[in-house]
Point group: C2
Chain length 199, copies 2
């Protein structure tokens, strides 16, 4: 069975792909809007991990709607959740995709889909949505990451990642300058995967 894993180049989506690898044919998929070269970066990371990779570009209106949400809210939660859900729906609408996975962990607050949203996507598109890390806490994930990956960690403003936040931050910088980004996004530690450890 093939599975398409939403891939940001970070440790959670990379580890998810590794956990699925013995049981599925894994492809990594990165969602972007061509504001920054995140697709190219994700592609390089995917190659180092040893997985096939492709980029998808949902309609630009999704990024614009997320921008409107974040500017109105003053915090990123709803906007990030909206892009995440839209990326999953975009993938699910691809007739060749039957399983979709992401790197959501047990303790993640954003992005996360509620049970009714998950059921709605599975029923409307006839796909399975799988979160391999949903039953793993932060400490267990960190142990597995240490064993399987070499990562680079840093503050979110210093690490270029192919996640939903990156291009949303860029759009806000372009329209309001970088001080606005600091107001809206809490600074937090991000990871970028450098290499996969040989077994």
């Amino acid at each position: 069975m093939q599975i398409s894993v939403l891939f940001s180049g970070g440790k959670d989506s990379s580890l998810s792909a590794i956990l699925l690898e013995p049981f599925f044919e894994v492809e990594l998929v990165t969602c972007g809007f061509s504001l920054l070269p995140i697709g190219k970066m994700a592609s390089e990371t995917a190659e180092r991990l040893g997985f096939p990779h492709r980029n998808i570009k949902p309609d630009r209106s999704i990024l614009e709607k997320a921008y409107d949400m974040i500017m109105q809210d003053g915090f990123p939660r709803n906007a990030i959740n909206f892009i995440h859900k839209s990326a999953i729906e975009c993938l699910a609408a691809d007739g060749n995709v039957c399983c979709i996975a992401d790197g959501i962990r047990r303790d993640d607050r954003v992005p996360v889909l509620g049970q009714p949203e998950i059921r709605s996507i599975e029923d409307r598109f006839g796909v399975h949505y799988v979160c391999p890390l949903k039953g793993f806490g932060r400490a267990a994930v960190n142990e597995l990451v240490k064993k399987h990956l070499i990562i680079d960690e840093g503050l979110s403003e210093d690490i270029l990642k192919a996640d939903y936040e990156t291009e949303l931050r860029e759009l806000i910088i372009q329209r309001h300058g970088s001080d606005m980004v600091k107001e809206i996004f809490p600074s937090h530690v991000q990871s970028h995967v450098i290499e996969r450890r040989k077994a």
Copy 2:
């Protein structure tokens, strides 16, 4: 890293062990109170799956407390959750155990631990608690089961399983007869694993 998977001989705990196998040293552990020979049955199933297995027997007072709960409630939910949590705590108190897993799926209602209970167990005992199927819906689990296991399915009263329900039902039969069991437990489909499919 070693991981102890709570094992009932059913498809969910068996599949959980299979998903963890490439990444952990898996042992299967069955919790019972010696009312029925469920430990022996679980042991035979574990051998057919190819995993090491052991039985644990928590204090009998746990079964009695669960019995009191179920007789007072008139439904099994709280009693089953109580035995499940007690089994995890019993395993966690074993100094050689560092990771505990079970077969809880995304859509399971019983047994299930709440987030505060999970954090409390992880913090008090210094263990990781992992649910490999927590991010998988019923349909995705069924696909994986079909690929990896040969199972026998039937109504809960006809399938002998090494789960928490089995001995609780037996205790109620011994004290009140089998009509009382039918009043308290909804009849539902259970699975028992016969064999592992060769890859």
